[in-house]
Symmetry: C2
Subunit: 338 residues, 2 copies
């Protein structure tokens, strides 16, 4: 049974979603949970869930918590006993197979890099966001914030790691890998993407060339590679658009009684729709390239999101994704990993 | 009465939307239209609209048309008598106050730069996209594709030009100008945005600092500055998300009879919603920094989009936006315009 450490102090409404998510995960998946955080707080909260006592859930004490406002570098220095650090140490020491946090993304990445270290051959770890497409499939965007100002070989490594991750988790034999750019031709894009294109087309992967922003969600590509600045902007713009559409529809649907009746009748469609574009189904973003398993979930995660992140962490460990990344990077010509 | 030249051969369904849009514009706004394109084709199409004969609409012949597939540089060299080139020459020669095209964006920008030239002090012209926000206001994103690989002073000029444009067209006294980045703090972002931040905060504009992707659509900022690569990705991702949401809702709403009834009852809401996020209401993207007025509309423009683009072109000319840009750039310290 995989042991997964869960940062119980991370999310906006911690520790509630974490504890409920841990209970769901322990019940539905074959996992043992280590809830990391302030022991008294967690035991108090667990007392509200008597069924937890019969499940493989343990509390591991950590006296501090990193907040969303903390700066990554400062948090690393100042909070030596944070739930994030303690949880990642459990992974590093082999006491847990993976770690899940819905806390401060910057701090999670920085702490993971320090505590776990990077895999041999990896220049920079990258965060991969998983999201739904119009085709009903999932796609991943890598990197979404770990690295701004990338070199072409960083994008090459993101492609390799992202491809392996997608293949392992979604079972696609030859995932289609695209480079996020502003035109399909090889010559389109900026200096970085034009150089990265030349590296990617030589890789033993199913490289489909440049893809544009609108291809992210159409299901024509599985793994989309970009630098962390562009990836983070892309992710947040998507959130903004969904918010805009939701608000605009809500306003319109409230305007008259007829429409309200209409809305009630079509309600189930909206619930389904929401589920379909619901990131919580995908369980968070894996940090690729660190020596260990670290899954970063959204700060607004609910119990379902945490449960799915735990499942993803356990699958990540089970599929030995890191061993594959190490192996495939070692096969590349030397300049790639320089 | 402002004379506006309209590329009649540009859009995906040219010349229909252009001709219908010209008729609407000539009727509703105080403008005289020069329809630029193949004379026989245009006269044939105009014959279907007898009312056009009583409106201030003329045809100006151009024997060639640039297609969406044409490469900008090649089109410039090979098609010396394209509707784009002829239309922009009308502006350059002072026979038209502005030019509107729904054709190949890259070719439009390249041709405008060659035929019109750039304003004194402008290093690189920039394309500004106008879009709706959740607050019911408009916002602009500049640059959305004219310039990849920018220098910090390019972003500074985009900010100045965008601010003047927004102020002039939307009548906002002190538009809020933000720098698109991945975190609010001054130190967040990549090398380019961090350096640009230092320039922008010294400008005599209402600079609100870094904004994130999700702020594009929330109405908290009016003018959002970024390089053309990021801007183009941002724009196309937004299109992709809207498409995803639309498809997902449509599928769900079709699934059962009850929902279909619900949908019919709430139909007006959807029509209203569509109008609210309808880019055609905003009439296209102005190319800022060229010596003349050039508005680039979406290839899928309908008559309404063309009509609004004509209105925007005429307002652009009327408000003497270029004179203001020239003036305000000349007031800046020398290194900005170097």
């Amino acid at each position: 049974m995989a042991i997964i450490a869960v940062d119980a102090m991370g999310s906006d409404r911690a520790p509630k979603p974490e504890i409920e998510g841990a209970i769901l995960a322990a019940r539905q998946h074959h996992v043992h949970i280590l809830l990391v955080g302030k022991e008294d707080l967690l035991q108090n909260e667990l007392a509200h869930h008597p069924q937890a006592a019969r499940l493989p859930i343990e509390v591991v004490h950590a006296s501090e918590a990193i907040t969303m406002e903390d700066k990554a570098a400062q948090a690393l220095r100042a909070k030596r006993d944070s739930s994030m650090r303690v949880g990642l140490r459990l992974v590093h020491e082999g006491r847990a197979a993976g770690f899940v946090t819905a806390g401060n993304t910057g701090a999670a990445m920085a702490t993971a890099k320090i505590i776990l270290g990077t895999l041999p051959g990896v220049d920079r770890p990258a965060l991969a966001a998983v999201f739904p497409t119009a085709a009903g499939t999932a796609a991943i965007l890598v990197d979404v914030g770990a690295n701004v100002d990338c070199k072409p070989y960083n994008l090459e490594q993101f492609a390799i790691m992202g491809e392996i991750y997608f293949r392992s988790i979604f079972g696609t034999r030859r995932p289609r890998v695209g480079l996020l750019s502003i035109g399909e031709e090889e010559t389109k894009g900026n200096d970085l993407t034009r150089q990265a294109y030349q590296l990617l087309k030589q890789l033993p992967i199913n490289f489909v060339g440049n893809v544009e922003g609108r291809d992210l969600y159409n299901g024509q590509v599985d793994v989309i590679v970009c630098d962390g600045f562009v990836g983070n902007v892309a992710l947040k713009i998507s959130e903004g658009v969904v918010e805009l559409v939701r608000e605009a529809l809500k306003d319109s649907l409230r305007a008259t009684i007829t429409r309200q009746v209409g809305f009630l009748l079509s309600r189930k469609a909206f619930v389904e729709f929401k589920k379909r574009v619901d990131y919580t189904e995908y369980g968070g973003a894996p940090l690729l390239g660190v020596k260990g398993v670290c899954i970063v979930s959204h700060g607004s995660s609910n119990a379902n999101a945490i449960k799915n992140a735990v499942r993803v962490a356990s699958e990540f460990a089970e599929h030995k994704i890191n061993a594959t990344i190490e192996q495939e990077l070692s096969r590349l010509p030397a300049e790639v990993t320089s």
